[in-house]
Amino acid sequence: MQLKLTDFITGDQKKEESKPVRDECPILLNEIKEYHATLLKELERAYEIAKKARSKLLDPYPNVEIPIAKNMAERVEKLMGINGLAKRIVELEEEGLSREEICFKIAEEIVEGKFGKFDRETALDKAVRVAVAIQTEGVVAAPIEGIAKIKIDKNDDGTEFLKIYYAGPIRSAGGTAQVVSVLVGDYVRRKLGLDRYKPTREEILRYCEEIPLYKKVANLQYLPSDAEIRLIVENCPVCIDGEPTEDVEVSGYRDLPRVETNRVRGGMCLVIAEGIALKAPKLKKMVDKLKIDGWDWLDKLINKEFEQEEEVVKFTDATYQPKSEEEEEVESIEKEKEENQEIKPKDKYLSDIVAGRPVFSHPSRKGGFRLRYGRARNSGFATVGINPATMVIADGFIAIGTQLKVERPGKAGGVVPVTTIEGPTVKLKNGDVVKINDYKTALALKDEVEEIIDLGEILINYGDFLENNHPLMPASYCYEWWIQEVRRKGINGDFRKISEDEALRLCDEYGVPLHPDYTYLWHDISVEDYFYLRDFVSGGKIDGKMLVLDYDDRAKRILEDLLVEHKVRNNKIVIEKWKVLVRCLGLTFDLRKVDIKAEGNILDIVRKLSGLDVRAKAPTRIGARMGRPEKAKERRMSPPPHILFPLGLAGGKQRNIKEAINCTSNGVRGEIEVEIALRRCKECGKEGFWLKCKCGGVTEQIYYCPRCRIKCGSEVCPNCKGEAKPYLKRKINIREFYEEALKNLNEWDSFDVIKGVIGMTSKWKIPERLEKGILRAKHGVFVFKDGTIRYDMTDLPLTHFKPKEIGVSVERLKELGYRHDYMGNELKNDDQIVELKPQDIVISKSCAEYLVRVAKFIDDLLVKFYGLEPYYKVEKPEDLIGHLVIGLAPHTSAGVLGRIIGFVDMNACYAHPYFHAAKRRNCDGDEDSVMLLLDGLLNFSRYFLPDKRGGQMDAPLVLTAIVDPREVDKEVHNMDIVPEYPLEFYEATLRYADPKEVSIRRVEDVLPTDFRFCCLKFTHDTDIALGVKESAYKSLKTMQDKVKAQMSLAEKIRAVDEHDVAERVLTSHFLPDIIGNLRAFSRQEFRCVNCNTKYRRPPLTGKCTKCGGKLTLTVHNSSITKYLGVSKELCERYNVSEYTKQRLRLIELEIKSLFESDVRKQVTLF
């Protein structure tokens, strides 16, 4: 194999003629080229080793099973298995066709027979799948798993129409690819002369019943109204059908002749609700561009015209008069006006609140997070930046990587620490009010905090507003904005930290606005309060350097609202920095009132009386609550196996091989009966289940027909023409295999537990060699269903780092190809800022420790099992630096090559946004996995993958070697990459501008050039590793403790209404949980404690009919009552609505009635 860089990065180096931009630095471009070459070289080295190992026939397949895909076209071809596809896609790309156009073109060519002759249904099937594959970059499993089948059915009038059966994994395709599949279906069915789908009335109503039902049992981002569903189903020319995915059945429209199931079809619901209904505008754009007719109804969907129709229906029996056109026009204009002027608080993020995960701020409330714009070097791409001090002060609930559900612009974001934004303002137990801007002070003061007056700033980048299409919200007045106004006046210099006098001097001499550090939150107090405070301060005293006021509750409260730092000493309020305050209150420095009249809103008054240009410090507050906690943990199945080897029940509850080898059956020790692959040695004819026979010969697959009870050479039984199975349930002697494996490895039998599995779920049921399990047990690592060892971490973005932050020396970095810092200067010190290469990752410390064990396992495997040289030779985490990994996200089937360059003590993984986007992830709190490259190449096999829907997901079916930002998830193209946002941007935010109106350079702008790989910039510096490492949610063990901590925090934060929190926790978590378990209790299944057989109803004998074991409940009393106590406490302590209290009381009554015997009570009384 020879990997050439030019194969991987195709296209436009030649037509390169871009205008130089000042940020671009050609030296870094060279580094990137070398970097890519290094990656390929190292990949090739590992690949060669793996090939050699695999050729020894010790695995299910004699070659490496992760092909390397050069680009999107190859990934699609490898995923779909159609020859010549990649070549054709590249040709079309070079012709300049867009992604969508290529989808349609290829689909058309498939049905025309250009890629081979297929029957009609197969051709349609392939066309639709390929379109989805292209649309999803060939990364996700949706094209294979998300479409179950495609069928041609008949309308009532005898014409034929196309039916697409979607399955659950279509979710991973995303809305756009989903609608493309429908559209392509429509396009190709015309080519084959099929008619459109004409639904019956019952079928339409079935959709109306089924989709809301799905929303109830599963999850839908958006639930279309009945009118929307009706419009879509009536008009969509392709029938959107699906496999049953849920257990629940519809109750109204059952047994329809053309609908094969009464169960809920999840895939169908997703495509209609999150696909067509939600992406109608995008679909419309595509339809227009490609000029496909018959989709005019999309206009109705987009303009919500059906709502009016419904209104007419509603009023037919009353006196309803349609509005005249004029009236309607006036109305719509007024509506628009409203929308523009005011953006209302949104409380959607609070709707599915979880107990123990606190609310940090109610929607848009005073004291909540203040919006600051910018992208730190570790933020952007669906993250929120927070000062590490805020993490500490919020009782440690927010850690690096914790997900925050936010009010806007999107739904959620991963938390990253940003030290250059403001931290919280708190009231201490002694009454002092302090701003805490750094982590250390926060740690020192955290136990003294009585109240959190303000949570501090939250950093969100422009790109996230653009991506979510959210109007820009007014920006906090911040240094980045102020300095640009200062520079415009011709003043240069660094004014980050300046004194009060200096701030006032700049204002008075140059007429610049007041420095943001001295800008108080005037807009948060009333005019009345303002004049009250003014009068009150004018009665104070200047004592030395300080302003001393008598203690007054109202005045103190106003000072707190303004976020003016002060102390309380001897029942006096003492203010150290008072000059700007006094000035803003319209007082002279000797506290006399200036004689000026002022009216209007509060800021106008402050400006007039002070003569200063005072800006709004916190015009936008962002509500937030905790979402998922951060994560960094090895992937374990439950129970976690060391090896994929079937033991049946012989392994006991632990599935322990050591237990199985002592099993005695028919007097033979270690004989167990399992379903296992059926292969026969070509040399000696002996039956076995591995590729290589004991005699050294190669085996071949044979099959068994369970009906005719014969063995045969093919999947089709020659006798009955039925399906023959590639495996057979038979007796094997595990003891012999185990002892032989120990001997092969030259290991002592020093293991207590080596865990296998009950049975293999794959089609062939080929097990792993026992040697692998022994070595995994030796090194304490666990295997995943596909044979690999994974480590899961929350995704966080990183574009620049300092060597000292990630535990790597400058020398080592230079060896890895980092020779310059991000400005192009030579790399010398460990605190220079360096731009991260796109495929390099910074892992969590715990991950590094685990991977060291994995690397040792691999080396042992290479030496003792395959008889090769060791590869990793690592002893400590530092030794891992420079080694390659495969990054892989759930729902996808394409791994991405990465390289470890350092680690940080946190529970997350920092990587370039491109790397995450290549895995089709953003950083809003999602997690995915890494595995060592050689582990994947050696141990992954398709022959292990479960033979069921979704089984091919989360498996590295192909590997992306070089990440090209043009072929990653498009969301990252909206990330901004500038060193500062222009003044026009800040001004635009004040008028709630559409983010599209503003021009800030984004990834998309540099895509055509080589500078897409490097020379990105950021606006805020920070320390990427500073902050809380583990959320209190995880460190607190019991739910009681979590809820207690959550409520105590709610009481502490001013922006949170603790009573509302209590109510929401009860109604959206505890009550549904208790009720759900209560209902489940009374219709539960039963389980055998030994063999785990499930019974819908217990056998009358009271014992397991299979093994005679004891039966047990699957829903216990304890799982119902576990939240009862804490729920009652919440009800008592907080102002919870009477309705909720009554619900709880009824539930308690019900629990008592179910779990306390009336008769027993009588007996004990007696």
């Binding site: 009824l1146 009336d1158 008769v1159």
Partner: protein
């Protein structure tokens, strides 16, 4: 049967049993008779802690008693758990719940179901134990068992039949296939067929069913209503007003006014209020969100019924009581809101009204039955109720929509054949006679809700069934 279960079974009778005595019981007893034996022991002994000797003595006397007696025993037992008030006596679970939520409770529950129902089937056919079937190769056999897992194998319908000794597959072909496919899953039936290749090829499937009987005739009237849903926004207040006025003799033609004067009882089959927290978002569909307020209002509305008419009030899934069946009557604090002419009963409840036996059951299981048997529909709820009578069980499907409380005794078995079976829940109206038993589903006083509209459920509100002298009439109080 384990020791714990036996001890608990004695606890039902308020008795304790000595550990040695338990062992004697386990050794000596054929499980089929255990419940009747325990009843027998409790009847013939008087000490608080039953001793080994007492048990031994009782076993002897039990064995010598004629075998037909066990069947009788099943019918006799209820008498001990009857509450009486004037001419009305009630048998329900109120105050007699034994459920503690352990696995033994579930085992005892299903055993009780099997024992009670198999005794009923055994009146009609004999039967061998399933474990002894291999002795009868290629012979005709009769087996009684609990059904599980009905599946369609094309030519045959196949189901498993289980007793306490084992499980056997039953193949039902030709005409029997259709009948077999209507088996609901947890009922007890008898099968007559040939035992071959480890399976039974069925010739007949026998349900416990009820015997033919004369229609009961009484010279007083009973009104059957259900699902009033007081407190709901959709409660039909005006129609209810007309109804109570009719009962008071204030509206209607001579004939109906005359009928009204004959009414002695009003029976309500549950869902008297709309409740709180029954489904998510219920609070938006309520005019009264306070549960006590709802019952207060209900009490006021029932007060419009003349005081000399007795109101028998059962409960349903919207009421303020446990949802798992059998449900006890409303808690005391709520009962106290109602006037004296209201008699509170559980669900189900066997009620004797001046000698007329009425079995009141809210009807939750009708949802499951109608879903499972395609020929049934919500438009004709009484047909689904007939299926319950045939099976002598009010909820022949376990694990469906109907939650079950695992009581030691299965209160849902129809051990005593009533004169009337009265249900509600499905909000539609249907009346019929089955082997002399009146089956009545008495609709609702709630108009169609948004949810029902979407589910394609069309209620028939304000229909009232009136029973008088063996005949039943229908009164409509809607426009």
């Amino acid at each position: 049967m384990d020791k714990k279960t036996i001890i608990k079974k004695f606890a039902v009778y308020g008795r304790n049993i000595h550990p040695l005595a338990v062992e004697v019981l386990i050794k000596n007893v054929d499980h089929h008779n255990l419940d009747s034996l325990i009843a027998h022991i409790c009847k013939t002994t008087s000490s608080f802690v039953i001793s080994r000797e007492e048990v031994e003595r009782a076993i002897k006397s039990f064995k010598t008693a004629p075998t037909t007696n066990d069947v009788k025993n099943v019918d006799d037992k209820p008498k001990q758990v009857v509450r009486s008030q004037e001419n009305v006596s009630v048998k329900d679970v109120t105050g007699r719940s034994t459920c503690e939520g352990g696995i033994e409770d579930f085992l005892a529950y299903f055993n009780s179901r099997f024992e009670k129902l198999s005794a009923l089937v055994r009146r009609r056919i004999g039967g061998v134990r399933i474990s002894s079937l291999p002795k009868f190769k290629n012979e005709q056999v009769e087996v009684v068992g609990m059904v599980k897992d009905v599946r369609d194998y094309g030519e045959f319908a196949v189901f498993d039949l289980e007793d306490k000794t084992g499980v056997v597959s039953v193949f039902a072909g030709e005409k029997l296939k259709e009948l077999a496919l209507e088996l609901l899953g947890d009922e007890v039936v008898g099968v007559i067929g040939v035992y071959r290749n480890g399976r039974i090829y069925a010739d007949r499937i026998i349900f416990p069913d009820i015997p033919m009987r004369e229609r009961a005739k009484k010279d007083f009237g009973i009104v059957f209503i259900s699902d009033t849903h007081f407190g709901s926004k959709e409660f039909l207040e005006k129609e209810w007003e007309v109804f109570t006025k009719w009962l008071s003799g204030e509206v209607g033609n001579e004939k109906v006014v005359d009928l009204a004067s004959k009414i002695k009882y009003v029976v309500i089959a549950g869902d008297i209020v709309d409740g709180v927290g029954v489904y998510p978002g219920l609070e938006n569909d309520l005019t009264i969100t306070d549960i006590y307020g709802q019952y207060q209002y209900a009490a006021e509305q029932l007060d419009k019924i003349p005081k000399d008419v007795k109101v028998i009030l059962s409960v349903g899934n919207h009421d303020a009581i446990r949802q798992a069946e059998p449900q006890p009557a409303l808690p005391k604090e709520i009962r106290d809101l109602f006037s004296n002419n209201v008699i509170h009963v559980g669900n189900p409840a066997h009620v004797d009204l001046d000698g007329l036996k009425v079995l009141i059951y809210h009807g939750r299981s009708l949802d499951d039955v109608i879903t499972k048997i395609p020929r049934l529909s919500y438009e004709k709820p009484h047909e689904a109720m007939i299926e319950l009578l045939k099976r002598r069980h009010l909820c022949p499907i376990y694990g469906g929509k109907t939650p079950i409380a695992p009581e030691r005794e299965d209160w849902l078995v129809i051990d005593e054949v009533p004169d009337v079976l009265h249900c509600g829940h499905v909000h539609t109206y249907g009346v019929g006679f089955y082997r002399g038993v009146l089956v009545v589903n008495s609709s609702t006083w709630q108009a169609q809700t948004e949810f029902q509209k979407k589910m394609n459920l069309n209620p028939m509100p304000c229909n009232v069934a009136v029973y008088y002298n063996g005949e039943v009439g229908r009164l409509r109080f809607c426009k």
